[in-house]
């Protein structure tokens, strides 16, 4: 499988990365190079092999469903590029 400029534009849009035409054009051979290389995994017989889900066997823990955090609005907002009236502010989304 290989990618073309249309695919790269589509992936960049999914990844929310703005790219110029020149950047898209440069990315096509780079991605194809890497994808061509990883495709050697096709040689490996994985029939009947389950995909690995946990690198070290362990049970996911459960904890009591209780509030153990909160009340730190100012700390949460302290690093925001734009915080207003105790909220994160973003460009207008409803016209």
């Amino acid at each position: 499988m290989s990618v073309d400029t249309a695919t790269v534009r589509h992936i960049a849009r999914l990844a929310r990365l703005q790219m110029s035409d020149a950047e898209v054009a440069a990315m096509v051979p780079e991605l194809n190079n890497i994808l061509g290389w990883v495709e050697q995994l096709g040689e490996v017989d994985t029939d009947g092999v389950e995909p690995l889900t946990a690198v070290i066997e362990q049970k996911l823990r459960l904890r009591d469903d209780v509030v153990n955090d909160g009340g730190i609005r100012n700390e949460v907002l302290a690093n925001a590029p734009d915080a207003q009236h105790g909220f994160f502010a973003v460009p207008k989304v409803i016209e």
Partner: protein
């Protein structure tokens, strides 16, 4: 390196306890060394006040007879550990100015053990790189030079390049690193120091900026194997805030150190003899086998048949996890924002385009592609199946041996700029390191010797799950026999 900055953590700890010097003297000596070494670009933030405050606490604790394991020891902290109130940027422009209101569990553990912080250490952007050249702060310059009379600037390796350079140059007696696919071990090898990545889950990932969550592990980088044991003991431990943290007691690794390897079998994987590796590296590997034999171990040939598929497997899984983890950088909650055009979506895309560097974008693109509709099974699931086979290779090998010995990296440190134009050549740096990462196993690099150009080469030990002690002990056996004392000549 003379005086206090030439000492190991164990020497500093013991000398401080014996009253030979104060913690303030230690902190001052390292603060001065850090300030005098800006040419190396190892630190992105210097925090001399933090180191001095911890030193004063340690001096008072000594007077009261109330010492902690790391009282009096100042450390460097890789820039992807969240440190409360101190810039934490993961080497990226997108996090410039981010001051976390919280402290990572690992650094909190180190602080509770009495350590102070000298500053934050430069690294490849989001730990994606093997040469420190992807950092938004520019590359770290290795303190080492080739002995050919040339003056080429060399890489300290990556992604923990600032960490490696700081220890090698005497700018910290020990540092934190993180290892996703070799980021502790390869830089440790490149600068002639020791570094260990513990079993996945030993060190909490909470407050560590995420790259590839199923692979990321923190670990120490120090001058000696003993120092690695001391620091790892302080960093490790169960943390309910990390869902994959191991709920197990932390062994007393330092007390358990022994270089007597009688009864141990050391596996030598035949698939790690690969084409294109300099003969010096294979010769050092052979010396390593003899050193372990001399320590009482029995070398046995083993096979890890899926070794050649580890790198391509890694370069599907790690970018996939990264593309998901890095979705959080959206210009809303922290970090930089670019207004862009086209409302909220335009702001996201413009912020991420301006904030991420080329390698990070490349990996986000790869990761997004292999997770996208129609390709998920062919790439991501396929890679997770091969990963299961790689893990099974190790499980079978450990039925025949207790430890595995290999070289750490396929070359010595290379020059800055030599590999940046070819991502695949850069990825090959981690060919020996990545398989243990995919299997979650403890692994360590210890210095073995110098190559013909006077540059350090490392030996790599891989242990079975939870057997950090076995790895450290074999590392100690090599350290005692390699007699590696070379240090870079000070030019900075």
């Amino acid at each position: 390196m003379a005086g206090l900055t030439g000492k190991t953590i164990a020497e500093l700890r013991d000398g401080f306890r014996a009253g030979e010097f104060s913690a303030r003297e230690i902190a001052t000596a390292f603060n001065d060394a850090v300030a005098a070494a800006r040419a190396l670009n190892a630190y992105t933030v210097e925090t001399p006040g933090d180191a001095l405050a911890a030193a004063d606490t340690a001096d008072n604790a000594r007077n009261r007879g109330d010492l902690q394991p790391l009282s009096g020891i100042p450390l460097g902290i890789k820039d992807l550990f969240a440190t409360a109130g101190v810039d934490t940027t993961s080497g990226s422009n997108i996090l410039k100015g981010f001051k976390p209101p919280y402290e990572s569990t690992v650094t909190l553990n180190l602080r509770r053990a009495g350590a102070g912080m000298l500053g934050k250490l430069n690294m490849d952007e989001f730990a994606m790189g093997s040469s420190n050249e992807t950092s938004a702060y520019g590359p770290v310059i290795s303190p080492w030079k080739r002995s050919d009379g040339g003056n080429a600037a060399l890489t300290p390796g990556g992604s923990s390049g600032g960490s490696a350079a700081a220890v090698a140059a005497g700018l910290a007696p020990g540092v934190t690193g993180t290892d996703t696919g070799g980021s502790i071990r390869q830089p440790a090898a490149f600068v002639g120091i020791s570094g260990i990545k513990p079993t996945y889950g030993r060190c909490s990932r909470w407050g560590v900026v995420a790259f590839a969550s199923s692979l990321d592990q923190a670990g120490p980088m120090t001058r000696t194997v003993r120092d690695c044991a001391i620091m790892l003991e302080a960093m490790s431990g169960f943390d309910p805030k990390d869902s994959t943290s191991l709920d197990l007691p932390v062994p007393h690794w330092e007390a358990g150190l022994s270089s007597d390897l009688r009864g141990k079998r050391v596996g030598i994987p035949r698939e790690y003899r690969i084409d294109g590796v300099p003969e010096e590296i294979n010769a050092l590997w052979d010396r390593g086998i003899e050193w372990l034999r001399d320590a009482g171990a029995e070398p046995v040939e083993i096979s890890l048949p899926h070794t050649k598929y580890a790198l391509p497997t890694y370069y599907i899984i790690a970018p996939a996890e990264a593309s998901s983890n890095l979705a959080r950088y959206d210009g809303v909650r922290y970090g930089m924002r670019e207004q862009g055009s086209g409302g909220l979506e335009g702001m996201y895309a413009a912020t991420r385009a301006a904030g991420f560097g080329a390698e990070v974008k490349r990996r986000i693109m790869i990761g997004t592609y292999v997770l996208s509709a129609g390709f998920y099974d062919a790439y991501f699931n396929k890679a997770q199946r091969v990963r299961a086979l790689i893990k099974q290779d190790f499980a079978r090998a450990f039925e025949q041996c207790d430890l595995i010995l290999t070289p750490t990296a396929p070359s010595a440190a290379f020059g800055l700029g030599e590999k940046m134009s070819d991502p695949l050549a850069m990825y090959l740096n981690d060919v020996f390191a990545v398989p243990a990462s995919l299997a979650g196993l403890p692994a360590m690099s210890v210095p073995g010797g110098l190559d013909a150009q006077g540059l350090p080469l490392g030996l790599h030990l891989i242990g079975n799950e939870l057997d950090e002690q076995g790895v450290l002990n074999a590392g100690l056996a090599i350290e005692e026999r390699a007699g590696f004392t070379a240090r870079p000549e000070k030019w900075w």
